[in-house]
Amino acid sequence: MQEELEQKIDTLAKEVESLQKKLKAIQNSRKDQLSIACVSGDMDKILATMIISLAAAAMDTKVKIFFSFWALSALRDPKKNPKGKDLISRMFGFMLPKSKNNLKLSKMNMCGMGPVMIKYLMKRHNVLSLDDMFRSAAELGVEIIVCEMSMGLMGFKREEMIDYPHLTYAGAATFVTDAGESTAQLFV
């Protein structure tokens, strides 16, 4: 009887020990960090991405946004005109919005009337404009990682991207690694 009890206590102690080790590993692998994969180029989705990022950054959470596919339109600078594009790249460049201020709404776009109305409402309700949001994000150290593959696919050049202090280019594995270290991950 006594022996049996001791054995049970022994196995329990071992189990607790292994659980403690696992817990420590989990605690060490997760940072106070938010990783967002943003693939949508709609104005509303970019707005949501930026508002959530700013709120997180204000709470001292590290924020890394991975921009890919249609979302790249939001990072284009309308004042820059890259040279040496092939026909398809020029076509893509022409068809897609040239900056974050020319994005369409995912619903109620109404040939461009929707975004005009939303911008008017945002101003009336004192919501920061997308320009202001990017400025604040830069101040707070929000990192933007641009998907190199989408850049090539859509024929965008680095020269036509906005001047943002924390902007880097990388591949999908960077997002996967960042997301794995983060306590929160979002896909927009």
């Binding site: 508002i51 700013l54 709120a55 204000a58 709470m59 001292d60 004192n126 707070l140």
Partner: protein, 83 residues
């Protein structure tokens, strides 16, 4: 803290964020927090309903003390102590 106690607090910094919507007040509060010392009290004025729920969460996460909210005519006064 009761409403009267909150109103009588000695405030080191008052942040008027009534001109901004979510997440503007939080951003302004974060900026202002750097200008006060530990143990000092900050007051945030916000007309945004969400702020009075967001600030306590921010305080809990960063280890500051959320002291309470006073509702004024059309806006809120939110009190916190920096730790």
């Amino acid at each position: 803290m009761t409403q009267d106690e909150l109103k009588a607090l000695q405030v080191a910094k008052s942040v008027d964020a009534r001109g901004t919507a979510c997440p503007g007040p939080l951003l302004e509060a974060k900026k202002a927090l750097g200008t006060i010392e530990e143990g000092e009290i900050m007051e945030i004025l916000s007309a945004d309903e969400g702020t009075k729920v967001d600030i306590p969460k921010w305080c809990a996460k960063q280890g500051h003390d959320y002291l309470g909210t006073v509702e004024e005519n059309g806006y809120y006064k939110i009190y916190m102590r920096k730790n």
